[in-house]
Symmetry: C2
Subunit: 148 residues, 2 copies
């Protein structure tokens, strides 16, 4: 029976925070260690107690990471979302950079996809002397010369 000052999210133990956010306990402590999640107050016994803010920040971190933002990006976003919340253009820059990265990765993957698809399609699947997949991987094999 504890004194509940505010909402039900105050004075939370790390395990509760973990269940609430779906972030592993160890990962929460890890985020604290790398200064991504602010250090929470402790009980007299030395245990971390989290509040609503921590829930929010942790959820933010999780979502940002899921969307592929780098840990450094996340730190910056958190800072920008902090005391001076108004630097929307900085936030947009980070998001734009990340968007460009994502687009570049998509382009690369689609090239790869076409190559793989074409190759697999060429593959008879039978016991043939030549294998289309191995051919694209093996430079020598791709040429018609015999080596060594």
């Amino acid at each position: 029976m504890r004194m509940v000052t505010n909402a039900r999210t105050d004075g939370m133990a790390i395990g509760e925070l973990s269940k609430l956010t779906g972030v592993h306990v160890e990962t929460i402590r890890y985020f604290e260690r790398i200064k991504m999640l602010p250090k929470p107050p402790r009980t007299t016994g030395g245990r971390r107690t989290y509040g609503a803010t921590h829930v929010r920040v942790l959820a933010f971190i999780k979502r940002s990471r899921e969307l592929g933002f780098s840990p450094d990006d996340v730190r910056t976003l958190l800072r920008l979302g902090g005391p001076d919340k108004a630097r929307c253009c900085d936030v947009r820059d980070i998001a734009t950079d990340h968007l460009n990265d994502v687009r570049a990765r998509i382009t690369d993957l689609r090239k790869l996809e076409r190559l793989l698809a074409k190759t697999v399609a060429r593959c008879t699947g039978t016991t043939a002397p030549r294998c289309a997949v191995l051919d694209i991987l093996d430079v020598q094999r791709g040429k018609s010369s015999s080596t060594t």
Copy 2:
């Protein structure tokens, strides 16, 4: 262009192999350690000596990794390309699996791209009280209630 295939490549030192394939010396030794590249013979002084086969296998590994095959896939592909070269259908299976992975990743990234693009477009870039990017990251912010 047949500079690589001949007997010149026999008795190569690890540094030459590295230059020839563009794989770092340390990485070559690493591949040997994890049994991806066969152990080469040594000189009396204990130095590794590589031949044409090693060049070919290493190039194969490099290309496979560049195309996103997992180290385990590469090992399997190498085995399938080895003594019994004829298991083309097995090779195709690996490539097909990988193709599916690639397609799934593309799908994920395109979803992410749409979300980011939409969000960035909504961002005014000015000093506004609300930031579209932060909104999609921060669940609380996305709702119209202000907490804590």
